[in-house]
Symmetry: C2
Subunit: 237 residues, 2 copies
């Protein structure tokens, strides 16, 4: 495709840029050592993530007033602590566990790929994560964003059109000058509906070894890449 | 002062981080060569900047609906083109001239100072400039922001309290965990009113050789520094 009109690349973060599942599992193992909490952290991570979309959908459909992802993660965590029979955590320890989402680790191709793309394009996060989460994550992981954008700025969650339109407006660009990069087809379709270009970067292991997400690219996507280094190749940078 | 509770430093940009006056003058000289436009670019820069606060105040007091700085700069530019008898610019050339504010150059201490402060603190722009302007400027000048925040996100201009409160909220911090850094006392007083810490970094030559701005620090400011390297020293980084 002709990418000469593209000025900015906006990246989905959870799953596309960072590997939430393996980070939560490895922090859980540390918590087991430190606090003797003995749960199956893979199950715990999957349960936490499973409630993510339903909780956002509750907000999207007006069942809950606006609240950011830190607040939704915490709401889910409170239920999981009961369900997984995790006891004895102080408020500070619960808050720290909730902030594991601020410390997620990138896939191995991410930093190299972003640095290459950044030479030609504005590279911006465009995540359902809140700004504080994304800024803390970027510092922790060394993600070289030019700009951190979030659903929080539109007070709507992806794939609502307001999120993508707000991002283009804030970047001072027309939607067709922006390319959304994501591992999830519904995110790209939401971006397309507003007029963004799209790049699909499937992450087959995002949900662990027992899930087989549908990774067939939609023929309408402008680019499909194996990872962010491959995307940089395909963008010619 | 004890800075152990400070997590983020938010920086005013025009005047504090970048030298708008000398950049506009030097781009004007280029325009003279390229287009034969013969005006006193120092007078032009000063006239453009002189209308900046009144135009924001018009928005702040409800005399104009919300519009961002690119739009206000353009509104002023249209009047200046008549006043300075500058003719023959195409729409694309006017737009490019208006975007000189996206290409402003930092003071010589800025990049080194920000890099040092970034090791310990979140360093964020918090400017009346719009996000697109700030992101383009950061790429152009190599400003290593962790995060670009703007009055645009609050749809209020500094020193309205909404701007500072929105920034703290988006960073997930209490106001007393944030220090505003600025060359202008009214900006610091606005931040103080919300509970921010303050650092005053006077820039004696911001307005050129013929203006003598009041640079006496207010005793209530938490820190006073000569430039951003001196501020890094005073913050112990």
């Amino acid at each position: 495709m002709d990418v000469s009109t593209v000025k900015a690349l906006t990246f989905d973060v959870f799953g596309t840029v960072v590997d939430w599942r393996s980070t939560i599992i490895s922090e859980g193992v540390e918590l087991r050592k430190a606090k003797g909490i003995n749960v199956d952290w893979a199950l715990f991570a999957d349960a936490w993530r499973a409630e993510y979309e339903p909780s956002m959908n509750l907000v999207r459909r007006g069942g809950l007033p606006w609240r950011n992802i830190d607040a939704l993660h915490r709401m889910i965590l409170e239920r999981l602590l009961i369900e997984f029979k995790i006891e004895g955590l102080s408020e500070a320890e619960k808050d720290d566990l909730n902030r594991v989402w601020h410390r997620l680790r990138p896939w191995p191709d991410v930093i190299g790929g972003l640095k290459r793309m950044r030479k030609r394009f504005i590279v911006a996060a465009l995540s359902n994560g809140n700004i504080a989460l994304l800024v803390n994550m970027a510092k922790h992981a060394g993600l070289p964003w030019d700009c951190v954008l979030s659903s929080e700025l539109a007070k709507h969650y992806k794939p609502d059109p307001e999120v993508y339109q707000t991002a283009a407006d804030l970047l001072g660009l027309r939607p067709d000058q922006v390319m959304m990069v994501a591992a999830h087809k519904h995110d790209l379709r939401g971006a397309q509906a507003v007029g963004f270009k799209t790049a699909f970067v499937p992450r087959p292991t995002e949900f662990g070894p027992h899930r087989t997400p549908d990774l067939t690219p939609d023929p309408s996507f402008d680019l499909v890449a194996r990872d962010l280094k491959d995307l940089a190749d395909k963008l010619g940078v």
